[in-house]
Structure formats: C-alpha cells, structure tokens
Amino acid sequence: MSAVADDLVRIAAVDKARGYWASVFRRLSRDPLSVACASVLLLIALAAIFAPYLGLADPYQGSMIRRLRWIGTPGYPLGTDELGRDMVARLIYGGRLSLFLGLFPVVLAFCIGTTLGVMAGYLGGFVNQAIMRTVDVFYAFPSVLLAIAISGALGAGITNSIVSLTIVFIPPIVRVSESVTTSVRGLDFVDAARASGAGPITIMRVHVLGNVLGPIFVYSTSLISVCMILASGLSFLGLGTKPPEPEWGLMLNTLRTAIYANPWVAALPGAMIFIVSICFNLLSDGMRSAMDVRS
C-alpha cells in the first residue's frame, strides 16, 4: 500500500517537473480526434514545405491540349486546371501561401489582441475606454469590407494583405480577451495577489494570462479558416496573391469558370480549405479541454 503511495508521489513529482505545457501535450495526445486532426495538418504542412523535393510536376507549366482533365486521368491523379496545370502540384504548392496567409495574420492578431484585451480588462477605467472605443470603430465595418479598404489603401501585395488581415482580426480578439479578463479580475485570487504586493504586470502575467489564454486561443484558431477565405477574397480582387501563383483561394476563384465543365476538379481547392479549417477547429476544441487542468 505504502509502495503504491510512494509511486504516486513519484509520478506526481515527475509530472510537475515536466511542466504545464508538457502535461497539456500529454492530455492532447490521448484524444484520438485531436491526434488525427494534428496529423492531417502536419502532413499538409510538411508536404507544402518540402514540395520541391517530392518530385512533383511544375505547378506553373500549363498546356492547352490537356486542360481540365478528370480526376484519375493517368499521369494526373487529381486532374488538371483550366490552363492544363497538374492539380496535385498546384494543391501542394498552394498550401505554402494558403497556410501562411491563414496562420500568420491570426498569430499576429492573437499576440497584439490578447495584450490589448488583457490590459483593457485588467486595468479598466481610462485604459479600457481608450482601447475598447478604438476597437468599436473597427467594428463599424464588415470584416471583408475593412480588409479590402485597408489592402486597397496600402496597395496590392502579400505583405500588405497580411497587414490588413491582422488589423481585421485584432478587434474581435480584443473583445473576447477583454471580456474573459474582466470575469477573472473580480476573483479572490487576483485580490490575494494584489494583497501580496504584486504589480499589475506580474499579476496579468502569472494570474490572469493562464486563466484567459484558453478561450482566446480557441477563438483565435477558429479565425484561421475565416482568414484563409478572406485572403483568397483579396487575391480574387487583385489585392493579394496574383496569378499564376498557386494559392487555394485564388485557385478556387479561377476554377469557378470550369464549375460546369469539371465540377470535381473545381471543388478541390475548396475541399483543401475545408479540410484545413475543420482540422484547426477540432484541434482547438481538443486544446481547450487539454488546457483545462481540472479535466
């Protein structure tokens, strides 16, 4: 009996030594759905990164005589697009820009938005008013319109579309982080931390952030799919990626003319966006339960 207890103590000690994030990862790895989604995303990301070494066809090389081949055509397992380019190569190379444009603005907006929102929620008063009212100004415009307006003002290009998408996603993240911070701020342990003489920055870092990061993180992951679609919208309007660059959103838009001629091939880029965004959403749900130490 006591040997068992000793073992438990030792296990607990090992657990502690591994730290919080290690335990989050361990819990996540026990959830089959999260593992499946993570594997799919990892596979797509690795394929996109190592695309030049996979022996694929040239994604830019088209041919007028083999346009819009069906899925399963020998030599073209996923067919060809409206300019006769190999869809396998286009989709894998397209993952590079699509994933980058979907992830990077959200990561940037997550960092900036969380900082602003936690500050607004914890410090309250004038700081809160200043931040939240500025955010409200951005809320006055629909997100698509705002992205187009900022991109248009900054000029076309990938960098500018990243900047405009970041600006679009900061306000909702600020809103979410402000509201969860306000609910945590009133709890006794924050008062206890203040009573032990800690300054606002230390309290926000140690006591507030750990308790608000989960919901903000989950919300932000759900924005990744929106961001990919918005990025493709910008590309369609000529404000983001430009043809012949492979990018899923842009491919979806150029293939739309072939929707009656070859609907299966035309749907492929959309399917990729769908798979990636649903994987991100399911993974973020898994992350949320894994980050809850009470589970």
Binding site: V9, A195, G197
Partner: protein, 354 residues
C-alpha cells in the same frame, strides 16, 4: 525594510504598548447609479469607523451581512481606496511614511471562498511561493519556504506541493490559503470569514491551527465572522458593526456578560441554544436592515430598536464608555446625559422593568 528576511517574523516596532494597527475615521461610500429617472446615491458601506488592534490579540468583527465587515478588511489592506480616514500600522501612516507595498508585506488576508482565492492554474506550491517571489526571493528559496509553510499548516509537501486547488478538499484549500497569507511573514492577518464555509469538524481543526500558528509566529488576527460562537472562542476583543458603523466594542467577557447596545443583545438573543430553558421564543429583531443608501437619521438602529425614543432619531450617538474596561457602546441609553428615558439602566432585567 530589507527584502531578504521573509523567513523570520518581522521585528517588533514601538514596544508592546503601541497598537499594531490603528484605524481612524475610516469611510467608504460606494456610488450607486439611480434608475432611469431615479437619482444617484451612495452606499455608506463603512462610515467613520475607528478601532485599534493591539499586538498579539485577536480582534473579532461581527455583524449581519452587508454591515461593512469585509469592506473594512479590504480597506485596511488597501484593496479598495478609502474615501476618508487613515490606517496606521506600527505608528506609520499609510500614504505618509508607510508605502502600500510595505503594508501588504506586513498585513495579509485570508478570504472566505477557499476555491476562488486560489489560482486554478497554479500548483499549491506556486501559489504560496508567488508572494515571496514578488518580494525578490529567489525561486528555489521561495519553493523551500512554500514547503516549510505547507508543513506548518499540516500538509505534507511531498503529497500536496504539486497539486492543483481542485484536487484538494475545502479544509485543505483553506490551509493552503493560510500558508499563502503567512508566506510574507506578516504581523497582522485579516481572516475574512476564513472558516465560515467549512463544515464544523474541519472548522474546529482550522481554528486550532490558527491559534497554534498565532502562538508560534507571534501573529495578530482580525477575525471577521458572523458566527458568534466562533468569534467568542477565538477573540480577545470584539467589534459589533451595524450598517457601516461600530455600535459596540469591548473585551469578549464584558460583551457577552454585559452587552449594552440593543443590537448586540439582539444578536446574542438570536444565537441558537442547546438549553431547552433558554429557547428563543420570539424573533429578537423584526424587519430587514434599512437601506444603506439612505440610512435612518440619528441612531441607525432606531427603526428596529425596541427602546427607540425621539432622541434616537434626532441625534446620532457616539461611542460612550460603559464603565467596563475598554468597553464602549454607541447607544443613548449608555449616556446618562442623552435625554433618553431609560438612560443609565444597563442590565437587561432593569430595562425590561424600567
């Protein structure tokens, strides 16, 4: 004050005669917004409260819900800003020679809700070590100190240090909260309903622990509770509060044997008794406490007091000496010159027949 001597109890300042804490005319009025057309008002949560806490004593604060007990504690530790009044610790006035940071190093607080007062994301050890780290103790020393304190409050560090709050029982969590409050070696600990949420057997254990720690570390407590039995058990002196004001204060024995304020008597009469001969026959006070936004004129208790006369609604009584040592009551009946017809009649029996 040097930052490194957290492991030893803080040295005494000013000799045994100087009170550890003095609170002078402390007031806190919370503004409340009126309705659509209603006018805005203020809740007089704490109104002109004076008291002092001697070194090594336990001062109990009792009163019904909403009388300003917790607000007083939060004002003392600076979690909310007073509108008026001063807090003097060891002869140093807060805001003058005493900084808020120094005050919070010497005064700590234990909250009622043992779960809400611990960060759910931090292990027990990290929660206790947080205070010392903030005050510049190295992480390893802070952890050693946390283990030491866990042992002091009766929790084996090998079993409990790495646990999260949700893995502990209410009593264990409150022990952790006590350890956290002691982590900065405070001289004064404010216990705000610290045992109220625990069941009776655990409550007794935690009370005994508090008494042991007080002896061992030379602590002083301000013990806030609505449970009169517990207050009587642990306190040396007691303050009775009603609607943000102190209505009576005195040593425990004097107060229990010779309460002068009708409110205090009503409180004691409301205590359930195991003795069938002393069974409560009727409700001792009737009605709800008045609205603190617009408190009654004169003595705030006159709307519910069985002995109220016209003088009570006209003049606000200050704390009069009752003749017992350190025993004061804010009632016109205690002051022979007040004009109250029963002034000078002190005992309950006298009052009933007068």
């Amino acid at each position: 004050m040097s930052e490194a001597d957290l492991s030893a109890p803080a040295a005494d300042v000013g000799g045994p005669q100087q009170p550890l804490l003095e609170v002078r005319s402390l007031s806190k009025h919370f503004p409340v917004r009126g309705g659509f057309i209603g006018k805005a008002g203020v809740v007089r949560a704490v109104d002109d409260v004076n008291f002092s806490v001697d070194k090594g004593e336990v001062l109990g604060i009792v009163g019904e819900s909403g009388c300003g007990k917790s607000t007083t504690a939060r004002l003392v530790i600076g979690l909310i800003q007073p509108d008026q009044g001063s807090i003097i610790l060891d002869g140093e006035k807060l805001g003058a020679s005493l900084s808020l940071r120094d005050l919070r190093r010497r005064v700590q607080m234990v909250f009622q809700d043992s779960y809400a007062s611990l960060n759910p994301r931090l292990t027990v050890e990290d929660s206790i070590a947080f205070g010392p780290k903030v005050h510049g103790i190295a992480a390893d020393d802070a952890r050693a100190r946390a283990h030491d304190l866990l042992r002091k409050v009766g929790l084996d560090p090998a079993l409990f240090a790495a646990r999260y709050p949700h893995e502990l029982s209410g009593g264990q969590r409150q022990r952790v909260n006590i350890a956290r409050a002691l982590a900065l070696s405070p001289r004064l600990v404010l216990l705000d309903e610290a045992v109220s949420a625990l069941d009776k057997s655990v409550e007794a254990q935690v009370l005994n622990l508090l008494i042991d720690l007080k002896e061992e570390l030379g602590l002083t407590y301000v013990f806030i509770s609505h449970d009169l039995n517990v207050v009587r058990f642990i306190s040396d002196r007691v303050i009775v509060m009603y609607l943000g004001e102190v209505v009576e204060t005195g040593p425990v024995e004097a107060l229990w044997s010779d309460a002068r304020h009708p409110y205090t008597r009503a409180l004691f009469a409301a205590m359930p008794s195991l003795d069938p001969d002393r069974r409560t026959q009727e409700a001792p006070i009737t009605g709800d406490p008045p609205n603190p936004i617009d408190p009654p004129s004169g003595c705030r208790f006159h709307t519910r007091c069985p002995f109220a006369e016209s003088v009570c609604s006209e003049k606000s009584p200050s704390l009069f000496a009752t003749g017992n040592e350190r025993h004061f009551a804010a009632c016109h009946m205690v002051d022979p010159a007040s004009g109250h017809s029963k002034a000078g009649h002190f005992s309950a029996r006298e009052l009933q027949h007068a």
